[in-house]
Symmetry: C2
Subunit: 341 residues, 2 copies
């Protein structure tokens, strides 16, 4: 079939080094494609830009495959069917797809998610009623598990996800504090229900959290990383939860920051959990039953390094800190046989 | 009652600065106390030295209260009742307590845990059958949730907890790799069932993990921190779990290391979890029901920053990365009204 006009699209021209620049993108024109049997032609009306796209512009390992240089980029888009050869969709139907960054596309009619324009403005399917809102919903409610009366801190709180997270936390009866990058955004946080907000360009997250969360943080919804994470970590309350949704401060790094990078938490969906055994005494009876069985059967052995004499206990302890033990380090402070006191 | 002799004890003489030294401890003598009604006099035979005690020597916030300067230190100890004025315990009974670092103590007879010396040598109540083994059991099995065929990495693997963790991971059918601080300890790891071990004083954890865990790590049982954690994080497999039991590399730090410190994970039992929304599509129907309801009722509002024209999409994206948006950032790539293609 002959082309019926041109469709503009944005291609990845080069992998950005550090912060992306205009020349990393290329605006190109292609003929408008024609739908085959079962397919539809869609004209996009809205497309989403999201921080995760920065990761996909790079070649590094991430949860989503990298964009290819020379290819159009992809992302969430809402458009309208303008030609249909599919029974699933009619001309005029609104659909949601991952075929953003272009004006027109052809797709299998059954592969597109139809949007009901009576429910809300169609653009909401890219925001509060789309992946953005879903990210806030799953991240805060399922993973953060906020409880009534708890303190929730949200970084990049005026952003797409953050602004929904704060409102959901209020629905759950929490106190909600957010960071944002301008006085106007901080004012906006209060309008949408945040109890407190601060401008991280004017006050360090550490100082702001001391001021606004003097009793600590129960749930930290992390969109930023960097100094936000460094400030939040030591201010977490006992059994606190940090949900890492994004680390936008680190996406444009060209050099590794000092210290452990938490980016793999996100890309590999890793959980890190600190624990103290005394919180788990409900498992003590199970432990004694299982472990004494394994010990008797020789399935678990146990080596001891024994230092003699209480006067040598400090040296034993210092040796332990230097790794001079093998297995359990003990100090024998008296003979095995009972003596009269 | 008159004293019947002297009991030696180790007191905290000074809070250590950096690595503890001998003069931070003081060996002192006190009269052997006499038990009152319901009490017993216990002579300690074994006492445990454990890395967590380093934290308790400092004044900083931790999960356990700090030791007081001038007071005897405390910790796990196994001893024998030498005098009893309690119905709960008889002379000769073996008991487990937290009254270590001293030769004799008096305690309420009902407050002590009796040990059965027929089950295992009594010192095991401080090791594999005590808090050490319990820590390995809860940390690996309950929190790490290792599955058959998974790869488990254990730091300080020849230590008291680590040597039990490795054996439990083998019982669960995992491949187990451990780090230790000498060739002798590495050889010992293989004796107790570890599949592989490396000497972190001769090979960096990063190089060793590339060599020994080329397909990544499913469960990391963390006793060390520092370069071990930095090496493990980017090598975690999807949905990997890091259980932080100890961070011994950091206990003696006098200065903050660069980057976020994960010590609060331990002291406050914090969970950090990275997530990707596409792993949670089973919740999509719940989300659409809840969020469209909240949206209609005005409980969740949603702001958009809309940039016009696909040619401006790169600028919109870069603006997003600079935080120039409020709420959801969208690009309008065409008119709202359908046109013929």
């Amino acid at each position: 079939m002959a082309a019926k006009g041109t469709s503009r699209e944005i291609r990845l021209a080069a992998r950005p080094v550090g912060f992306p620049k205009g020349s990393d993108f290329e605006l190109a024109e292609t003929p408008i494609p024609s739908p085959g049997d079962g397919e539809v032609l869609v004209r996009n009306v809205y497309m989403s830009v999201d921080p995760y796209m920065r990761s996909r512009m790079a070649e590094r390992k991430s949860y989503a495959p990298s964009f290819k240089v020379g290819d159009p980029m992809t992302g969430g888009a809402v458009g309208q069917v303008v030609e249909s050869r599919s029974d699933a969709l009619a001309v005029g139907d609104w659909v949601n797809s991952m075929n953003g960054w272009r004006e027109y596309y052809v797709a299998d009619g059954g592969s597109l998610m139809k949007i009901d324009p009576a429910l809300a403005p169609v653009s909401k399917a890219l925001g509060v009623l789309g992946l953005t809102g879903f990210t806030a919903y799953v991240g805060l409610l399922d993973l953060g598990q906020p409880k009534e009366g708890e303190t929730v801190f949200v970084s990049a709180a005026a952003g797409a996800v953050g602004s929904v997270v704060g409102q959901l936390a209020k629905l759950r009866g929490c106190r909600v504090v957010g960071s944002a990058g301008s006085p106007e955004k901080v004012a906006h946080l209060r309008e949408i229900g945040y109890d407190e907000g601060f401008d991280y360009k004017r006050e360090s997250p550490a100082d702001a959290l001391d001021r606004l969360c003097p009793d600590g943080i129960d749930v930290y919804f992390e969109n930023v990383g960097g100094d936000h994470l460094e400030a939040a970590l030591p201010r977490m309350r006992t059994f606190g939860r940090i949900v890492v949704c994004g680390l936008i401060a680190q996406y444009n790094d060209t050099e590794l920051q000092p210290g452990p990078s938490l980016v793999p938490l996100l890309t590999s969906r890793v959980t890190i959990r600190g624990f103290i055994v005394s919180d788990h005494f409900d498992r003590l009876a199970d432990f004694l039953r299982d472990m004494s069985g394994w010990y008797r059967e020789g399935k678990v052995t146990d080596e001891e390094t024994v230092v003699d004499g209480i006067e040598n206990a400090p040296a034993a302890f210092m040796g332990l800190l230097r790794g001079e033990n093998r297995g359990k380090m003990l100090v024998k402070v008296g003979p095995d046989e009972p003596v009269a006191a």
